[in-house]
Symmetry: C2
Subunit: 521 residues, 2 copies
């Protein structure tokens, strides 16, 4: 089970400070009623934009339709293939007629202790107000963010999807918050682990109740009737837990039926629009966990219900060793496309410190996904990567060839979503005299610098390292904690490297990366 | 990596004391040249008889062809569907013309310190001599054990397969032993982890060397030319490690080619015999580990190379939670049958104490396999289960319906074969204030007694237990260590149960079983 730190959550998941580059010249506004003649096919990289980020980044006094257009142009400049435009956490970020909006109950002229603000930590209030002022202002101007963005996407050849968070839980432990819907507050008796409710995940709504499903179906229907979209995504990974403990397999049958109903709504929308409207899902990173939590993406694919399946971690850390091969094999004989989901944080150990992914780590994670057989890379919380200096990394995620030119790091992390009762299996911290790590490293990295980076806890003598059985030379270290070992050419292999670390004295390893330098072109 | 205790190994894997019931009346000898008109299809339960057990159980002064027949009749009485007759560890247990025999270099009239015996522990010598005297005697009588057994199997409708251990390592740390081949002793420089060689697994022959592959191919060809067999099994799980660390994926391509060559030999044999000769493999219990160790059973199935795939643990413990669903899904679109392998030991924790499976545990493991979608149950080291009183359990392994009538236990154990660097993920001992376990339990066990059995380390207060979120009543305990909790009917579910254990004080859980009583019929 995931333990999350609320403040950190808000900061990274909802309010990550974006590197906003100088905006492109504004384009002329487009007709809001534009309907495409044909759809735009699903392409990679797939970029998820969360429902709040744009409004954190653009204050009310500068926001307008042209700012939305310019932002889409930045997506195009980063060669994003598909936009997953997230429409909601517990509330809609556009003027929905069937769900409350983000600004519902918020008085821009009211004080900081008005009902929807007063339970927030003091430090969060200014940013929240900035966001709410902005999202309200755009709506008040009569602009629907997604409609506007999609029209611009079509000009740029970007595939247009909405993404719906199917059980968002931000702030669910507060009495009130702009992130909480009245529906949630009035249905707290329907949470999935009522006898404990110690974590956010425990407080997720239990999807075995019809009123929960109906609540979400309303929003999905609205979007399928409102937008000119190429697809809609059911984001089951916000927050990934939808049923009581031990009730997830039964629950999976309920979700399968629900996904089937959404599929029918997509078909209606396709008829209305005259082009395909695809259906996608985000699910946990392994087939067993997905199935054990009721998100049986493989069953949905085999039943012909979905066009896109995205295995992904939740949030605490990016995963570098997802079993894409197994997913690929299970989708055999279906038409469902496969994308691997990258999160933005890098956290080697459960409960340990996290950083944002470096360009090298993101390239490594993306390479592992594509080399494992995925069709696309899917990035979540990578808001600032559509701008320089990170833009080239996002662009390179289009394919193995472009990624292989970049330096990349493959790192040991862990799976942050497990079904209750599944073995944990995190590998760090690793203790003892012999530790072994396996990383999915993509094409054989010949003719370039390759290193193993190890971080030990406390000052320690350098351990011995072998890669694929071949001893590495003496390491460099600046501080006696982080050691960088040169990896001999003869140890290199396609697809995977195994790192053995030995030490006469017991050691504690807290970070392991396999670092591949730029390719000499 | 598996750590094995040599003496325990020998006792349980090679010399388990069989419960030998009064033998059936001896039948008349059959012509050794009998060839069946048509083959006998693969059926379950599948019974592996190791290459030494029969000769441990039957001394030289009583052995003859009729004893072999009577033993086969006991298989028939237990309704075994398929016999996997194991022909070899490092040596053949029949008069092979291409491999050394078990009795090679052994002088029945020689002393205990003759070369092949003198490195054995003193206590092992009498049993070893008994076995060697017996296997040699039968061969000296001109009887080929497998030929004789297969002829009798055909009369009984039992499918006839030989099973070849592809990298057996018994006694590999000794200078000499009747279990070591000259080939092995002369090729110790070809072991897979030469720089360490601390465990038996490290000393496995590295299959990337052609001479290793050729050595095994010789034996396979002989058997395909010698016997009237319905199939041949490549037992890659004795001992499961065939390549250098990090070289297993490259190795997998070598094994795929090898399996393809054996497939061609099977086709030749089928032509000779006029009936199908199938090909089977035993591989590690999860698709990822199998692939990561070079035993990519799914790839072999998809290439049409194999008829039977058997995921299985190695030896240290039976597994109750193998991902049969995933295996089934991956075989989709192939003709390959799927069997789940049951080992005989029950060991909740790595390095912890082990018992033989009880009837209830064996029934639980078999149920998990079939309910997960396997076609058959495959038992290994279940020598005594063809006789009363265990015979009814083996019979019931034919199907879910028959198994469901029996009491069964589903238990937390661990995976005893991992690719180097894969996360370990064992769950016991479990420490702390909240522990959660998930077990694959087959059809919903309504209308019968259901209990959770917990063993704690040291004297402890009884913890609280929930099953699928429903609290269990007060437990019974005879010794303050093992607690038996009644499971409420309303908690029960199809396929899976999740057990949550809570305690105000930290506890250490060392055994977890989900116990289902007999079905009232």
């Amino acid at each position: 089970m995931v333990k999350q730190n609320r403040r950190e959550f808000i900061k990274t998941s909802l309010g990550q400070a974006a590197v906003v580059a100088a905006l492109s010249p504004l384009a002329h506004g487009e007709s809001r009623k534009t309907r495409s003649k044909k759809g735009i096919p699903l392409k990679g990289p797939i970029f998820n934009q969360d429902s709040t980020q744009f409004f954190y980044d653009h204050a009310a006094d500068e926001i307008n339709g042209e700012v939305v257009d310019a932002w889409v142009d930045s997506l195009a400049g980063a060669e994003v293939g598909t936009l997953m435009s997230n429409t909601c956490a517990m509330r809609a970020n556009y003027a929905s007629k069937v769900w409350e909006t983000d600004w519902h109950g918020y008085d821009p002229n009211g004080p900081d202790d008005q009902p929807v603000l007063k339970y927030l930590p003091k430090d969060d209030i200014p940013g929240t107000r900035r966001r709410l002022d902005s999202v309200k202002k755009l709506a008040d101007m009569g602009i629907n963010f997604h409609e506007r963005a999609f029209a611009r996407c079509r000009k740029n050849g970007i595939s247009c999807w909405t993404s719906v968070r199917m059980n968002d839980l931000h702030d669910c432990d507060l009495e009130d918050s702009p992130l909480l819907s009245t529906f949630y507050k009035e249905h707290r008796h329907l949470i999935r682990v009522p006898y404990r409710a110690s974590s956010w995940m425990d407080r997720a709504l239990d999807w075995s109740h019809r009123e929960v499903r109906d609540h979400y179906m309303k929003l999905l229907r609205e979007q399928l009737e409102m937008f000119d979209l190429d697809g809609i995504e059911l984001d089951w990974m916000r927050f990934g837990y939808h049923f009581g403990i031990g009730r997830e397999l039964e629950g999976g049958e309920i979700l399968t039926q629900f996904v089937g109903e959404v599929r029918k709504e997509c078909q209606k929308a396709a008829k209305r629009l005259g082009h395909p409207v695809m259906l996608g899902v985000r699910v946990p990173s392994t087939p067993e966990t997905a199935r054990n939590l009721g998100m049986d993406g493989v069953a949905w694919a085999k039943a012909g219900l979905i066009d896109l399946l995205v295995p992904t971690p939740f949030w605490a850390t990016c995963e570098f060793n997802m079993p894409m091969d197994t997913w690929r094999g299970l989708l055999n004989g279906t038409k469902t496309k496969l994308a691997g989901g990258l999160e933005i944080l890098y956290r080697p150990m459960p409960g340990g410190p996290a950083d944002g992914n470096t360009p090298e780590l993101a390239a490594g994670a993306a390479m592992a996904v594509l080399a494992g057989g995925a069709d696309f890379v899917y990035v979540f919380n990578y808001f600032s990567w559509i701008y320089e200096p990170l833009r080239p990394i996002l662009k390179a995620m289009a394919g193995i060839k472009t990624l292989d030119k970049l330096p990349r790091h493959h790192a040991i992390t862990y799976r942050d979503v497990l079904a209750p009762g599944e073995p944990d299996g995190h590998q760090l911290p690793a203790t003892g005299g012999l530790s072994t790590f396996r990383l999915q490293t993509g094409p054989k990295p010949t003719g370039r610098q390759v290193e193993v980076i190890l971080e030990l806890q406390g000052e320690a003598s350098p351990p011995g390292v072998r890669v694929n059985g071949v001893p590495c030379g003496a390491p460099k270290s600046e501080n006696g904690k982080v050691f960088v070992f040169p990896v001999p050419e003869e140890s290199l292999a396609d697809r995977c490297h195994v790192v053995e670390v030995t030490s006469a004295k017991p050691m504690t390893i807290v970070r392991v990366e396999f670092a591949i330098g730029s390719r000499a072109s």
